[in-house]
Amino acid sequence: MDLKKIYEKIGFPRLIIASFLIVLLITAAILNIPLSGIWQDIFTRFGMNAILVLAMVPSIQSGIGINFNLPLGVIFGLIGALVSIELGLSGLSSFLVALAVAVPLAIVAGYLYGLMLNKVKGQEMTVGNYVGFSVVSFMCIFWLVAPFRSPELTWAMGGTGLRVTLSMESSMGGLLDNFLAFRIGATKIPTGLLLTFAILATIVWIFSKSKKGTAMRVAGSSEAFATSNGVNVDKQRLLGIVLSTVLAAIGIIVYSQSFGFLQLYNAPLYVALPAAASILIGGASLKKAKILHVIIGTFLFQGLLVVALPVINIISEGSMAEIIRIIISNGIILYALTRKAGDAA
């Protein structure tokens, strides 16, 4: 294999971002920033975000493109977590109850959203963005009037309406992060977190190798081809969006338990863009996505944020790191949207 082929396989954006990441890591070492902490952060943030990125895979494969309506699934994930806190559960049972509540709700919501998307073929990404905004705004009202009574959840004064940020310390905070966790030197590896992602990724991978998954992928690549081969395209798209919504719901529960807080109100809005950016950095296109893209993309994207933050804060003033994060994530989405086909990797 000559250099050109290797270059083509890796692709220009990944090459740029990977080299930027390496430069940052070297700079961090020069600036005496403890690398063990950085690696631990990279692993943790990878585990936190990877499932949300994984949620993009079924929606891309079924032909809907990037699911900008990730907030829909996220909201039901949050409701699941809220219910388990309201019930006063802790540990594994609180996690499982959250899932048990969230997943059925996400299935129903994803199905209804899918019915709508089948009426707006070709516009899914634009429509998804606006549905996301609408749903999040609507839920802002819901959070205020929701019938949760646990003092952990509601405002201290008045006793009704949910708080903006809720601690999960008493329920499932850090549950997966600490499961089977071990240390390499000073770096703590969040085994349970990574394992959860690995299990879900394997399920999605096996699904994509199955007869059903194959039909879904075909429906996504060419509607005319799929129809003429007896595939019901609308049904496959429903399946894709339901899977994506369910993964988003699971993803936010896993994210929150690691983060330690549930974020309500406007927070779900900020889920879709980084996830979209991650999978696109990973090499997916609007038509094709693989598990490998999820892993590479999440690692590069989160790695960049984790390393850039301390390094740039030392080198420059103020909140440069945050600004750079926004430039990178939006820039990558823009780059991917301007490309017609994905790479062959």
Binding site: I206, K209, S210, V218, S221, F225, T227, S228, N229, G230
Partner: protein
């Protein structure tokens, strides 16, 4: 003196040589005819001459061109236009909402300076509408057109649009050479006659004309000299007076249409039909079917022929359920559900679409997957059952694809290659391989040889005949090429105006086919 000399022009599209060593000379003011079959390289040659971007984005061309005494190698159509070359395309390039004047003067508007333009440059000058109307009127008059130049283009008859396109070209003061690509294809007979008159007038005004058409009688009628292309090479350049139409046709086709067609099978007309279409209506845009009745026997190869737009393509698409269909389809006496591709596949009916790239293939998936997919989906072949899961067996797909590749001689780098990178003929073979894998009782094939080279054509047709013989597969083949239908079919149904106009044996006379295709009454033609 020659106005245009093209010398040793060659062009290949990603390894596929479509033009080789073609030379073409056109004198000032002459009408030069360019003839050739579909795929002979006419369009490519014109694209080179007119500097179309598709040429340069695929690596340019070989050879030299001299226009008006100067070396000439246009990179864009604008460059070609500046040199004095105009082109009227097969598809109209008019803006429907604009008036005739605006369309004729598009991007070359007459303008008057205004206060604003003196400050901010000539782009802001005001349109000089009276002058534009006058110019447009002049151009139309030269074409003997008596139409009001202020009418919008939308809603005009297609014949008029053709004239407006030409008016636009002759309004350019420097026009020296006008390329007409199949200009009479959309015209009625009287329009075409008027059109040919106009062409002659233009030539008298000193404009050289390069005339591309399938209609040999027109070529014979108006051109001064003729160039014949076949399979991307120059066959002959000759003065029109020295050649007759039959000779022209022979040069163009270049091979005797083989009279040794495959042996025809005899079928008992009274036997119950294997597939029967009763009063079938298919609403396929451009190819509407309006009440077709057909009976097809088991093991038969039925050809569907006819002119484009008459509905022959619609029949197979309708049977497969890809377009809204009415009527009834009986297979083995059993009524088939309409508008349901899945059920047709379940009932062992397979379809090779005429739209190979759109419907027939997944261009961004490898060959092996393309071959196996329908069988995975419909028949659950290539599947390993793991508990409740049905996992697709990739290694089985791959080895099956390898067998198919060697059996059908698919030229590729291996089963992993994406079908997008295959040539048309090899793409068609992949489609056939998929149908073979499915092993259907009835195979519907639409335009199997469209856009593929002769060698592949033969292989594709031979494969169909072989399937029919060895597996007793019933085949309905739809094709615009009558010659190939006559080679393979047992019977040929000619479709005209959405109905079966005649059913002919393949050895019926050329006149019988010609009349049937034209929708003429057949009394006395069929014995």
């Amino acid at each position: 003196m020659d106005l245009l000399q093209m010398q040793n022009i060659g062009k290949n599209y990603s390894g596929n040589q479509v033009l080789k060593g073609v030379s073409l000379n056109i004198k000032e003011g002459e009408i030069h005819g360019l003839v050739g079959e579909n795929g002979a390289g006419k369009s490519t040659l014109m694209n080179i001459l007119f500097g179309m971007p598709v040429i340069h984005s695929t690596g340019g061309f070989e050879g030299e061109m001299i226009f008006d005494g100067k070396a000439y190698s246009p990179k864009t159509p604008t460059e070609a236009m500046e040199m004095g070359i105009g082109m009227v395309h097969q598809e109209f390039m008019l803006i429907p909402g604009f008036t005739i004047t605006e369309n004729i003067k598009l991007n070359r508007e007459n303008t008057k300076p205004t206060a604003l333009s003196k400050v901010l440059g000539p782009k802001l000058e005001k349109l000089d509408l009276p002058k534009m109307r006058e110019d447009a009127k002049n151009a139309l008059n030269k074409l003997n057109m008596t139409i009001d130049e202020y009418l919008p283009v939308a809603g005009l008859p297609v014949g008029y649009m053709q004239f407006i396109e030409i008016a636009r070209e002759i309004d350019k003061s420097n026009l020296k050479l006008l390329i007409l690509d199949e200009p009479t294809a959309v015209l009625t007979e009287s329009e075409a006659a008027q059109f040919l008159e106009v062409i002659k007038n233009l030539s008298k005004m000193g404009i050289a004309i390069l005339f591309i058409t399938h209609r040999l009688d027109e070529i014979k009628q108006i051109t001064d000299s003729i160039t014949v292309l076949r399979d991307g090479t120059l066959v002959k350049s000759v003065a029109t007076a020295d050649i007759n139409i039959i000779e022209m046709a022979r040069l163009m086709v270049g091979r005797e249409i083989s009279s040794t067609v495959s042996e025809k099978k005899e079928f008992d007309d009274n036997a119950p039909p294997f597939l029967e279409l009763q009063d079938l209506y298919v609403n396929m845009p451009g190819e509407k079917v309006r009440g077709v009745n057909l009976k097809i026997q088991k093991g038969e190869i039925l050809g569907l022929g006819g002119l484009a737009g008459q509905g022959k393509i619609g029949i197979a698409n309708g049977i497969m359920g890809l377009y809204p269909t009415k009527g009834s389809i009986l297979k083995d006496g059993k009524e088939m559900p309409l508008n349901n591709p899945r059920e047709m596949l379940n009932n062992s009916v397979a379809f090779l679409s005429e739209d190979r790239k759109g419907v027939g293939l997944l261009l961004d998936e490898p060959i092996d997957f393309n071959i196996a997919f329908t069988s995975i989906e419909v028949q659950e072949q290539f599947i390993n059952k793991v508990g409740p899961l049905k996992i697709v067996n990739n290694s089985k797909i791959k080895s099956h694809a390898r067998d198919m590749i060697s059996e059908l001689d698919i030229r590729c780098t291996g089963p992993d290659q994406y079908t997008r990178f295959l040539s048309g003929g090899n793409q068609q073979k992949v489609c056939i391989a998929r149908a073979l894998t499915l092993n259907p009782e009835i195979l519907l094939v639409s335009e199997p040889t469209r856009g593929i080279d002769i060698g592949a054509k033969k292989l594709v047709l031979d494969t169909l005949v072989k399937l029919n013989k060895e597996l007793n597969m019933t085949i309905i083949i739809t094709s615009s090429e009558l010659a190939e239908l006559r080679q393979v079919s047992d019977r040929i149904a000619i479709i005209s105006e959405g109905k079966v106009h005649a059913i002919l044996p393949p050895d019926a006379s050329d006149e019988a086919f010609g009349l049937a295709m034209a929708g003429e009454d057949l009394d006395g033609v069929v014995k």
